[in-house]
């Protein structure tokens, strides 16, 4: 059992680059290296790839939520001129195995439904044709005889499903994918001793990343070598890409996965197994390269990456002096038809399940259920954004019920700056932080008291103005070790989540960095170039970046879980150390100086204290590449100037047991958001009067791109809070399958300005003290915005337990509250 509190003998770190040094490039608002190609329309997105003799594929989608496939007649489709081939589920099953699944026991998902469809939009057949137009024409000619089965779309009903309503009868007699109880610390004792217990039922509805570019793949199959090449806009190919080869039933070296620029992901392209396998299957069957790109309906109905869909019954225990002591919840999570990452999205939340507070014990009962919906995957926060919502909602509930001050209550319960590194009851560690500092900065920036006065004045005029507060964690750098404790037997018990960088300095002194994970709309090229420029005093313009495919890839887990900046900073630092060692060795020889007396300055290596006694990196590189015989005859001094380095997780430990997950997600960022909203009680419309976002991601490599994540994530969080919801009816039909009715935030829905405050509490464990920031504002905006709306409507007694709250739902809540008051 992990005992919460300050760790007196903190684990040793491997930090080489201290945060407190003087830095020249890191910390500047350097313009992004990625941008010029995008600005001139020359990105390399997946649909931009054209191969000779390439065919296009479309999928025939299931119109049923749950049905047996009795027969498929594709003769008319096959006869249509321009159709190359049609592949049904049964035919696909001859050539491919199940898609990768990281739950144990696994849940079988096929690239094309085999025997049964389990959600609307599930691919039933793949049509390969000379054009996408013909492929879609052909799809309309396929006759599928379905025998409908009862569908379940309500998560509570799913708990009790029996008989034909069960999606995966081979796995058990019900629709419970997993049911687990976790106890971290003395939960029962704390609740027994509590002076107050606050309870709420909370509902977080299903939304999704919904990047503007859908998922897709372009695959070719070389009959001569038996090898596939798969271009895909997904990630994790250098981590678990071999599982795609397994799905294609070929050895892993017979698949080369090539990355493309991703037009946004927000988690939804984390691991694109289905589109990869479909395109590759089409290529092998047709003998032509095949492009398969989801259209928007495919993406909304069958992306495999819907976000969390949870109902919480949560209880918070407090002592007589209003200190939070324990948190207990029962959560039902609707995972949809499959279970690719198992309980991963709950394990993620365990990394920060007490938020920034000194809560000593946590009890969690988790029901993961199957329903006839698209399965869950990753969505900016990977479940922890929902944990944050749950914590801040119950904190606000305590404030309301016990009539407390929302600022003072948080202050009194925060883990204090002198208590780090701090172990939370789940065993995870918070490396560093300054939560009171963030709250105070937000208060000051907002003019908190001033807004309270304005709020009072507004109320006297009958206006509903509210101030929201949310103090949330942003965990960074997953180790994936928590998966040990999520599966019943450790079916996914890895302990590595590395990232690599390769650096080559050419004979003229120009550098190429190869990254081993894709460009996902984040700024990997900018970050890698800035770190290398800092290390070698190179001009960032002299550094270019490429992305390795799996044939040439080193271990790389990829962007996700707010890890990538920390990890590539570590990988580039490690590779640069090797380069620097060789540069100084060669330079020492050229300058007839002891390498220990040398320093890097403005692209040169020179003798400390001797200005002018120096050689440029270009001169050293030329020497290293081409003049071996001028160097000492030492077998360790080979020609060239290059390095590979694989950076492992900066701080993780083995799990100790079900009550102690060990350290698995310790690089802890923090954010405090304070929105000010006005609610139009007549229409239910919410508008923003102000918005302050204070965040702490340690040392910032590039404050400009950090701001971008904060602002963009906040807009997404506002979408989650106010607009976005995949709405399924009782028959499992998805009612909003386009952006006409699945609403994404537009400029008119977000604050005109998000005022950002930077607090910098460097990590003692990462290079330069960097922490993650990629999941950004979406980790905190939903509870902050809801808190503000509730605060605005306090005179009416409106309580908000559900997101999203679009105007229709908010109007209903206002009407109910007004009816209650008039009774």
């Amino acid at each position: 059992m992990a005992e919460a509190g300050k760790i007196l003998s903190p684990p040793a770190g491997r930090q080489r680059e201290r945060p407190d040094q003087r830095l020249n490039v890191i910390g500047t608002r350097m313009l992004r290296k990625e941008d010029p190609r995008f600005l001139i329309g020359r990105g390399h997105f997946i649909d931009d790839i054209e191969l000779p003799n390439m065919a296009d594929a479309a999928a025939l989608r299931s119109p049923h939520a749950h049905a047996r496939i009795k027969s498929i007649d594709a003769n008319a489709a096959r006869a249509l001129p321009g159709v190359v081939c049609v592949i049904t589920g049964e035919e696909a099953a001859q050539e491919t195995g199940p898609l990768p699944c990281f739950a144990n026991p696994t849940v079988e998902q096929r690239c094309l439904a085999l025997g049964k469809v389990r959600h609307v939009g599930e691919p039933v057949a793949l049509i390969v044709a000379d054009s996408r137009y013909i492929a879609e024409d052909a799809a309309a000619l396929i006759r599928v005889e379905y025998q409908p089965l009862p569908a379940v779309s309500d998560m509570m009903e799913a708990i009790n499903s029996r008989g034909d309503t069960v999606l995966h009868p081979e796995r058990g007699p019900d629709n419970i994918a997993e049911h687990r109880n976790y106890t971290f610390g003395p939960v029962e004792q704390e609740f027994a001793a509590a002076a107050h217990v606050v309870k709420r039922r909370l509902r977080w509805s299903r939304s999704g990343g919904q990047p503007l570019e859908t998922a897709g793949a372009v695959a070719s199959y070389d009959e001569g070598s038996g090898k596939f090449t798969i271009h895909v806009n997904g990630s994790m190919y250098n981590y678990i890409g071999f599982t795609i080869a397994a799905a294609l039933k070929v050895p892993s070296h017979q698949v080369n996965i090539v990355p493309a620029d991703a037009g946004g992901s927000f988690g939804s392209k984390l691991f694109l197994h289905k589109v990869s396998v479909l395109a590759a299957l089409g290529a092998r069957t047709s003998g032509r390269p095949v492009k398969y790109i989801e259209d928007r309906i495919d993406n909304i109905t069958a992306s495999d990456n819907h976000g969390s869909d949870r109902t919480y019954d949560v209880e918070l225990a407090l002592d007589a002096s209003h200190r939070m002591t324990a948190l207990r919840y029962r959560v039902v999570d609707d995972y949809g038809a499959y279970f690719q990452y198992g309980l991963g999205t709950h394990g993620n939340g365990f990394s920060q399940t007490v938020g920034p507070y000194r809560i000593r014990a946590v009890g969690a009962e988790i029901y993961a259920v199957f329903t006839n919906k698209c399965q869950q995957g990753a969505c900016r926060g990977f479940g922890s954004e929902v944990t944050n919502f749950m914590i801040e909602r119950i904190v606000d509930a305590a404030v309301e019920e016990l009539n407390l001050d929302p600022i003072a209550f948080r202050h009194d319960n925060f883990i204090q700056p002198d208590e780090f590194p701090y172990q939370i009851p789940t065993g995870n560690l918070y490396d560093s932080g300054n939560y009171p500092g963030a709250l105070e900065m937000a208060q000051q920036m907002l003019g908190y008291q001033d807004w309270r006065d304005k709020q009072q004045a507004a109320r006297t005029q009958g206006r509903y103005v509210g101030i929201g507060i949310a103090s949330c964690q942003e965990k960074g750098v997953f180790s994936a070790t928590e998966f040990w404790m999520l599966n019943r037997s450790p079916g996914f018990a890895l302990t590595s989540s590395p990232e690599s960088a390769s650096i080559k300095i050419d004979p003229t002194g120009k550098a190429v960095i190869s990254l081993h994970a894709p460009c996902w709309g984040n700024s990997p090229e900018t970050v890698a170039a800035m770190v290398l420029a800092e290390q070698l005093t190179l001009d960032p313009a002299d550094i270019s970046i490429t992305y390795s495919d799996t044939d040439h890839g080193l271990p790389g887990t990829g962007p996700g879980g707010s890890r990538y900046t920390v990890m590539i900073a570590g990988a580039v630092t490690g590779a640069a150390a090797i380069i620097k060692e060789k540069l100084t060795r060669v330079a020492g020889h050229m300058l007839e100086a002891d390498p220990r007396d040398l320093e890097f300055r403005q692209g040169k290596v020179g003798v400390k204290g001797a200005p002018g006694l120096e050689v440029s990196i270009a001169e050293i590189a030329m020497q290293a590449h081409f003049f071996r015989l001028s160097l000492p005859d030492d077998p360790t001094l080979t020609s060239g100037l290059d390095a590979n380095y694989t950076y492992d997780h900066p701080l993780a430990t083995l799990p100790k047991g079900e009550g102690d997950f060990g350290i698995f997600y310790p690089i802890m960022g923090h954010m405090c958001h304070m929105p000010v909203v006005e609610v139009d009680a007549e229409t239910g419309e919410v508008s923003f009067l102000d918005y302050v976002a204070v965040h702490d991601c340690g040392t910032m490599i590039n404050p400009m791109t950090v701001d971008g994540h904060v602002r963009g994530g906040t807009a997404q969080g506002i979408g989650t809070a106010l607009l976005e919801e995949f709405r399924y009816d009782n028959n499992g039909q998805l009612l909003n399958t386009s952006f006409t009715d699945y609403l994404l935030p537009r400029v008119g829905n977000v604050p005109p300005q998000v005022r950002i405050g930077h607090l910098v509490t460097p990590s003692p464990y990462t290079e330069y003290g960097v922490k993650g920031a990629g999941e950004g504002g979406r980790m905190v905006a939903p509870p902050a915005v809801v808190s503000a709306i509730e605060d605005a409507l306090r005179p009416l007694g409106v309580r908000i337990d559900t997101v999203p709250v679009p105007p229709s739902r908010l109007r209903a809540l206002i009407r109910e509250a007004q009816a209650r008051r008039s009774r």
């Binding site: 010029p36 995008f38 001139i40 992901s265 005109p752």
Partner: protein, 165 residues
Amino acid sequence: MTAMDDIEINVTVNGRTIKRRVEPRLLLTDFIRHEIGLTGTHVGCENGVCGACTVLLDGLATRACCTLAVQADGRRIETVESLGRLNNLSPLQRAFWEMHGLQCGYCTPGMLMLMTELLRENPTPDRDTIRARLNDNICRCTGYEDIVNSVERAVELMRAEGPVR
């Protein structure tokens, strides 16, 4: 299903005259991207909501995903490729770069064309005017504020360097 005969169209794309025979149902996005090879114009929602496919048709911002190629017959098409190139970015492109007006870059060509239309109409739009026009298109990455800042910056650059082309 009987395919209709191809129809010959004559269009001007970024100043270049192009004559092609196309299927009547061919979308303008597919014509621009896959027939002409100008892949800067992107496809997002495929039903006219997001604006990633925005091009200028006779100078007017148009959803190319909801336009047939045959509808462009005899007309002038401008795409992102008509703006500045790598070593000669236009003031608007430069402003997006300076002010972090893009992240993944997928909505960017549509945004640039939408704002090109605005800046031709009104070379000195205020913030509210920019926001009102920007409401036509969706960006999933930036939260919009940096795009508004970018357009304001473009106005400054254009004041110094001359109007948008």
